[in-house]
């Protein structure tokens, strides 16, 4: 029993079954682009270290393996130097120096563990604790608090400070439904302020007052309106900013952490799902500089409570106008009967893949539908039943080619019909980062939005695209002069009636400027997907043929499809819904099959760059729900077209056959410029005759907080909708209803 194994995915590292890490090809990391400095060496605790010139002393100490306690310094924020916890002793310096604010000097001798250093840090700690409340037992940060941990080492058992008036008291601020404040605990490290300033672009979180009276707040009664606000909870080294939905729910040591992948947008942010028993208690980001750095969007972080509401827990069969719970056998045979009764043949059998469908189930479903003789595969979007305008033959036509870290190299970006702030919040923060630190110029075509960085507004419809392509206007000139220009086309463009001609215009622009936009180092043509499953669906060819798109389906299989237009489904069609939430798709169904949500299955997700990542299950799926691919596999048996895979490994073999990139985890395989050019050529050819109407491009996401069945079922997201979008019709009728939903 030999197996075909190609060495293409054989790991080069020590592991026999490792995931292959393909080094980012020919591309330099952000760190190395900022002026190549010489390295310097210095001695830390008697150990020689070499660091790039311009590093902070704390980085040198870290490189030497010395742990420096800190509160205000953070790797991904500007240096503030105001907590003084990072004091170290430097030779020939009269006083201990703050290692984060001190540049590393060649040849200097540093000690991080001397009695002087200890005494200095103990002094700092004593000042910090002078006004810090002793409420660790009721503080949510307890157990994962920097102050708590560091006071174990540098705190003394009693204080020399006794304020007659008692400890400093600060009024709590209202930062909205996500971030809970307890401002007495604040140690004024200003991490939250720097985060809001630099990363989130909310420049109204700041400090007021001086010395003992310094406070953190929004200056006026105002909530912190940012889609990244949850990250300040992580950044806060004490319990001043904690998570409101998670407040008093669990302690960190009770939680089981599972490293997984987020699916609320197409960025594929790395997350850690913390669960207790059968419940997801919270979602935390996981650092990955290739994808999300250290941030995740609020939807990724807080939509988890939607996983407990509105779930489908048993197979349901529609009888009359209501659903009746059934066993799996009954449900599957009801589907087989339904299929037979409608008499659907060939292309009349349709499958629609929704936003949250995992790659394994997409592959299984495509195989099943193909086995039934149909080519009618659709994605769950406007016009998703027709073959997409960009085609799926060449990957670079629908992926985010320069990769997410690559954004930082771009020096001119044109956004077309997309609002990355809502479609890919973490990716947007990269653009902002680059905009702040370089001379990046951004142009924008589409509905005006606040992107957290300034942009040149070019227009809102195809006319603006045509003018840009013709080289008219100031931005077009800047774009032409740029060394690494980048065009980001929103996923909504392919749903737009003018989509084909937009693609045509931009693809031919790329063709004519290929010396800049399409070089071996740089591919400046990119599409920003917004649905977690979309890139995978295109990768496996989950699209219909032109012929199949014209047939009226009689049997429709909705896989996690909750955005479908109910009107598009004909009355006499037999509809099966497979998914985890009783949302729109389930209402339309004749049979509902309960699947697992993303925290409940270990499946592959392909993000907008085409990076395959493996999620893992944190909690078991509730009730009778099952892994999605297993449901499809079981159904295939009932329909007498048994799929050939028995376990998930065999299924992944099948995925490997379809496209090895689907199982080459954590790596992005870039398309070569020649192939990308060929792809563009096909694209230009196929859209040559496209007509346009000149309708304005609209942003596809009206409400950032509710975009999928999970976030629509989430109480926290409903509260956010109410607080931040001013939408009173957010699914909660009044304060009382809200309380009830919480209880």
């Amino acid at each position: 029993m030999l197996r075909l194994v190609s060495t293409a995915s054989r790991p080069s590292s020590a592991g026999r079954l490792g995931k292959t890490a393909v080094p980012p090809k020919g591309r330099r990391a952000f760190a190395s682009t900022s002026a190549k400095h010489a390295d310097i060496s210095l001695t830390v605790d008697g150990k020689e270290v070499t660091v790039p010139q311009g590093s902070a002393l704390i980085q040198a100490c870290e490189a030497a393996g010395a742990t420096i306690p800190r509160f205000c310094y953070h790797d991904r924020l500007a240096i503030a130097g105001n907590c003084r916890m990072c004091l170290v002793e430097v030779e020939r310096s009269p006083k201990p120096v703050a290692s984060c604010a001190m540049p590393a000097m060649p040849g200097s001798k540093v000690w991080t563990n001397t009695p002087l250093v200890h005494e200095a840090r103990e002094g700092v700690m004593e000042f910090l604790l002078a006004n810090h409340p002793l409420d660790c037992p009721i503080c949510d940060q307890g157990g994962e608090c920097d102050l708590q941990d560091q006071s174990m080492r540098y705190g003394s058992d009693r204080s020399r400070f006794h304020e007659i008036t008692g400890k400093r008291a600060v009024e709590d601020k209202n930062l909205g439904p996500l971030v809970k404040t307890s401002m007495n605990r604040c140690i004024q490290c200003t991490r939250c302020v720097r985060f809001a300033n630099e990363v989130a672009g909310v420049e109204d979180l700041g400090t007021t007052g001086r010395g003992n009276d310094m406070q953190i707040g929004m200056y006026v009664e105002k909530t912190m309106n940012s889609e990244l606000s949850g990250n300040v909870v992580d950044l806060c080294p004490v319990g001043a900013l904690t998570s409101k939905p998670y407040a008093f729910h669990a302690r960190p040591w009770e939680l089981k952490n599972t490293e997984s992948i987020d699916v609320t947008d197409a960025v594929g942010s790395n997350i850690r799902v913390d669960s207790r028993g059968v419940r997801v208690m919270r979602v935390q980001p996981r650092t990955n500089d290739d994808v999300n750095e250290e941030w995740i969007s609020d939807k990724a972080r807080y939509a988890y409570d939607g996983l407990t509401f509105q779930r489908l827990t048993a197979p349901l069969i529609k009888q009359g106008d209501r659903f009746v719970a059934a066993t799996w056998e009954e449900a599957l045979s009801a589907i087989a009967d339904g299929l037979a009764k409608t008499g659907a043949q060939g292309d009349e059998i349709q499958a629609i893949a929704g936003h949250l469908a995992d790659t394994e189930s997409l592959v299984a479903l495509k195989d099943l539908i193909n086995c039934l003789g149909s080519d009618n595969l659709a994605t769950d979007q406007l016009g998703g039943t027709a073959p997409p305008v960009h085609g799926v033959d060449v990957r670079s036509n629908y992926l985010f080619n320069p990769t997410i870290p690559g954004i930082e190299q771009a020096d001119a970006i044109l956004l077309v019909g997309t609002n990355p702030r809502h479609e890919a919040a973490v990716l947007n923060s990269r653009i902002r980062k680059s905009w702040l630190h370089t001379t990046l110029e951004v142009g924008f075509i589409g509905e005006r939005v606040d992107t957290a960085y300034g942009y040149d507004y070019l227009g809102q419809d195809i006319k603006a695209v045509q003018e840009f392509v013709a080289g008219k206007g100031e931005f077009a000139a800047k774009f032409k002069a740029a060394k690494k220009p980048l065009i980001i086309i929103g996923s909504a463009i392919s749903e737009h009636p003018d989509g084909a001609s937009v693609y045509n215009q931009l693809a031919s622009y790329v063709q004519t400027h290929k010396n800049k936009l399409l070089t071996p180092e740089w591919n400046g043509f990119s599409v920003l997907q917004r649905a977690a499953s979309r890139s995978a669906a295109y990768d496996i060819g989950f699209v219909s043929s032109a012929k199949a798109a014209k047939t009226t389906p009689k049997f429709i299989y909705l896989l996690n499809a909750d955005e479908v237009d109910p009107k598009s489904i004909s009355k006499d069609a037999f509809v099966v819904y497979q998914g985890h939430h009783g949302d729109l798709g389930a209402q339309l169904a004749d049979v509902c099959l309960p699947g697992a949500a993303y925290t409940e299955k270990s499946t592959t997700w392909v993000n907008t760059e085409g990076r395959a990542q493996l999620g893992s299950a944190a909690v078991p799926p509730p009730g009778a729900s099952r892994d999605d691919w297993k449901i499809i596999r079981a159904l295939s048996e009932v329909l007498n077209v048994q799929l050939p895979y028995e376990d998930v490994l065999a299924l992944r073999d099948r995925m490997w056959e379809i496209s090895p990139t689907l199982v080459r985890y954590d790596a992005v395989e870039s398309t070569s410029p020649d192939v990308a050019l060929a792809g563009l050529k096909v694209l230009v050819e196929s859209t040559k005759k496209a007509a346009f109407k000149g309708l304005p491009f609209e942003k596809p996401i009206k409400n950032f907080y509710m975009t999928d069945p999970i976030s629509r079922a989430s109480v926290t997201m409903a509260q956010c909708t109410r607080a931040f979008t001013g939408d009173q019709e957010s699914g909660i009728s009044d304060e009382k209803g809200l309380q009830a939903a919480f209880a």
Partner: protein
């Protein structure tokens, strides 16, 4: 992942030869990693490697056979973003995916979580990846390795706060 299967084949064969080894009492345990050159072209067909001489523990340990069907993940846990300390993220960890269906349920008596999964609390730490791989091989577990991500922190400098930029001011610092 197709490799996992190939490995499984190898592991199964080595399991069947395991008993023989037991009898002849030659016990060779090797933790060496794959020696196949990684530069072969894709699409090429190779036969799985010959089984290596690892006496899998469950030949004699009496561990339930189901355990063999659960691949383990070998990875380096990332730092908890709630804290700045990076302790424990140097280690390599083996843990099991949860058992779907029946792995956990809420106990009707107390509301606590009960579990039928005897591995749910097992989480092993190793000093190096090789150690972890070696252990998994000895146990006869299928495993896959999740590569650690590369950290890229640019050199940071306090002076950057005061850097002059000739272009339009792009940030208003409220600190």
């Amino acid at each position: 992942m197709s490799l996992l299967n190939a490995w499984k084949q190898a592991a199964l064969t080595s399991r069947s030869t395991g008993l023989k080894h037991l009898i002849t009492s030659t016990r060779l345990v090797s933790s060496e990693s794959s020696s196949t050159p990684a530069n072969k072209k894709s699409g090429e067909i190779v036969t799985p490697e010959a089984p290596r001489d690892v006496l899998v523990a469950d030949v004699i340990s009496g561990a339930p056979t189901e355990l063999r069907h659960r691949p383990v993940r070998i990875y380096q846990p990332t730092r908890n973003t709630m804290q700045s300390g990076s302790g424990k993220s140097e280690r390599w960890r083996i843990d099991f995916d949860i058992l779907p269906g029946g792995g956990r349920w809420e106990n009707p008596l107390m509301g606590w979580a009960s579990s039928a999964d005897y591995m749910q609390g097992t989480r092993l730490s190793f000093r190096s990846k090789e150690d972890a791989v070696h252990f998994a091989e000895k146990q006869g577990w299928d495993y896959y390795i999740q590569q650690t991500t590369v950290k890229r922190i640019p050199p940071k400098n306090y002076a950057e706060n005061f850097l002059y930029r000739p272009s339009k001011l792009r940030i208003l610092r409220t600190k």
